[in-house]
Symmetry: C2
Subunit: 333 residues, 2 copies
């Protein structure tokens, strides 16, 4: 039973999805508090059939709160999570602020639930693209060591929040009307366009999203040298991320073995109908708990027969964020 649960960033895309996931899973807390910035405070959001007024997040917000789900960006997590922890609140943080701190467990319940036991009040929710990748490759890695993975992402607007989704819709409408709109959320046009992920580029040429995927994967798999090559791309899709994944195993692994392992993996659904050319697609992954995987084939570019290629789509707001965080809460209580 969940006592007093707080959602920080309740008016955002992930915050709203958290409420929906709690409702769907019948996880009604004894008390639910919703927090947001001063700007969004005062809004009313329906939760479990009742309107809840969103309050402004302050340092006093966490009095009596048992568990707080943070999804309001790294800056707010850095400022308010320590306050919550000091008062004895357990924090599940969806931002990247604490993910790489050694004492903070970075948890995907289906993959590394064991790490949760050592928590000291703060648990980090991994990056959405990392979760979607690991849901599929972690079970395969357990079956036969993955020596190398090459991944290209197809990331939805939702990863940048509700305002980004609105910008994709409004820009697209404007382009169809023959206008030449300028965006504010994204640095580049989103309508009928795509671009390398907008997070800052480091000295190594990788952007922050790519670095997160590499570092978080290594932490979750507890393999500091796991070889992962990632290119992160933003595409004009609303809310599910897709990933093209090329794997090199230590030994021969057949397509049938991959299918068997993934068909038994919790939270994964195989969508692989070659005759109908029906594979994972964002529109079918949206609003769905499972990560969809398909187009599984032996890699023609690895004649030593140790390669597998596959394609995944997963709802960025659900398993990529809200669902994973709520699953952590389920395991905590």
């Amino acid at each position: 039973m969940i006592g007093h649960l707080a959602i920080v960033g309740a008016t955002g895309a992930v915050g709203r999805e958290m409420i929906r996931v709690l409702e769907e899973r019948n996880l009604k807390p004894e008390r639910l508090s919703l927090f947001a910035s001063a700007q969004s405070a005062g809004q009313s959001i329906e939760a479990f059939g009742e309107p809840v007024i969103v309050k402004e997040l302050t340092e006093q917000s966490f009095a009596g709160v048992d568990i707080a789900l943070f999804s309001a960006g790294g800056e707010r997590s850095r400022r308010f999570a320590p306050v919550a922890l000091d008062g004895g609140t357990v924090v599940v943080d969806n931002s990247s602020a604490f993910r790489m701190e050694p004492v903070v467990p970075l948890v995907i319940p289906e993959i590394n639930i064991g790490d949760l036991r050592q928590h000291r009040g703060l648990i980090a929710n991994p990056n959405c693209s990392t979760i979607i990748l690991l849901m599929v490759i972690a079970p395969l890695h357990r079956f036969c060591r993955i020596e190398r993975a090459v991944v290209s992402t197809y990331q939805a607007a939702s990863g940048a929040g509700a305002a980004a989704m609105a910008e994709l819709a409004s820009q697209t409408r404007a382009v169809l009307e023959g206008k030449n709109p300028r965006g504010v959320v994204f640095p580049h046009p989103t309508a009928f366009n795509l671009f390398i992920h907008e997070s800052p580029i480091g000295e190594d040429g990788y952007n922050a999203e790519e670095r997160k995927m590499i570092q978080e994967t290594r932490k979750i798999l507890a393999e500091p040298d796991f070889r992962l090559s990632v290119t992160c791309v933003r595409v004009p899709v609303m809310r599910a991320h897709s990933e093209s994944i090329n794997l090199t195993f230590a030994d021969h692994v057949s397509v049938q073995q991959v299918q068997e392992i993934l068909s038994q993996s919790e939270g994964v659904r195989i969508v692989d109908d070659a005759a109908a050319s029906h594979f994972p697609m964002p529109v079918e992954a949206s609003g769905v708990d499972e990560v969809l995987v398909g187009h599984i084939r032996e890699d023609a570019g690895q004649p030593e027969r140790r390669g597998i290629e596959l394609f995944v789509s997963g709802d960025q707001l659900r398993k990529g964020a809200a669902l994973n965080a709520v699953q952590i809460v389920e395991r905590l209580v």
Copy 2:
């Protein structure tokens, strides 16, 4: 000087682009004939400032034609190209019908112009995704042997023709109006969605587009065992294809060396401004002759320092099809 030039498939997206490219390059033939199916015949298309009436394609169409540019699908090429060849017309075919025939040169002028010399009247234009890939990796391969390439594509609607582009626009408009439209050109929703390339899946699990890229790359590079792993994906973009490319070289190649080679490669333009997060994008590649390349970085997943990752965008209708075909004509005359 071009004598009598015919365009077969003149009302299609590529056919219309061929006329534009001829005009831009001041390649006015002595006579220009435009052909299409009975359904499209009778339309008037402006070329070099004058209206040209499109005629129905028949077996008599090629009398007196010196060069015919075919872009009307594999079936029409298979039926009419032999007729044209019999009458002495040189055929540049944009379909996949003859690309893999050993006696047919498959030509990207910047890469393997030498192959053109051996032609027997029929020259094949490679697949658009193949051209865009090779414009960037062939010069690098010449500098230092590429041992392996892993590619994921982000392919525009234009690759499936003018009707597909119209479907992307109309479906997107309908979705924005809250409707749930069904397509006819593509088997899956295109609006705010993406899907594995719709070409038929073979027994090896690869679709025809992926197989084309592998086989054509091997033929153009004259390397029957070139190791290429490809995933082809259709994205809601109008007319430029993008590709995420991961390379393993035989030896260490630095980012600076890659930049130097590509900055000297004809038909390639580097767009790689890390500070502004500005890299190749379809909206900027559209209508442009060069293939754009950027996000060039040493692959963090290949610690032996033989890996390079990069991202390209190229106009599928221009360098991917019409421009390359017209460049072949330029070299022929």
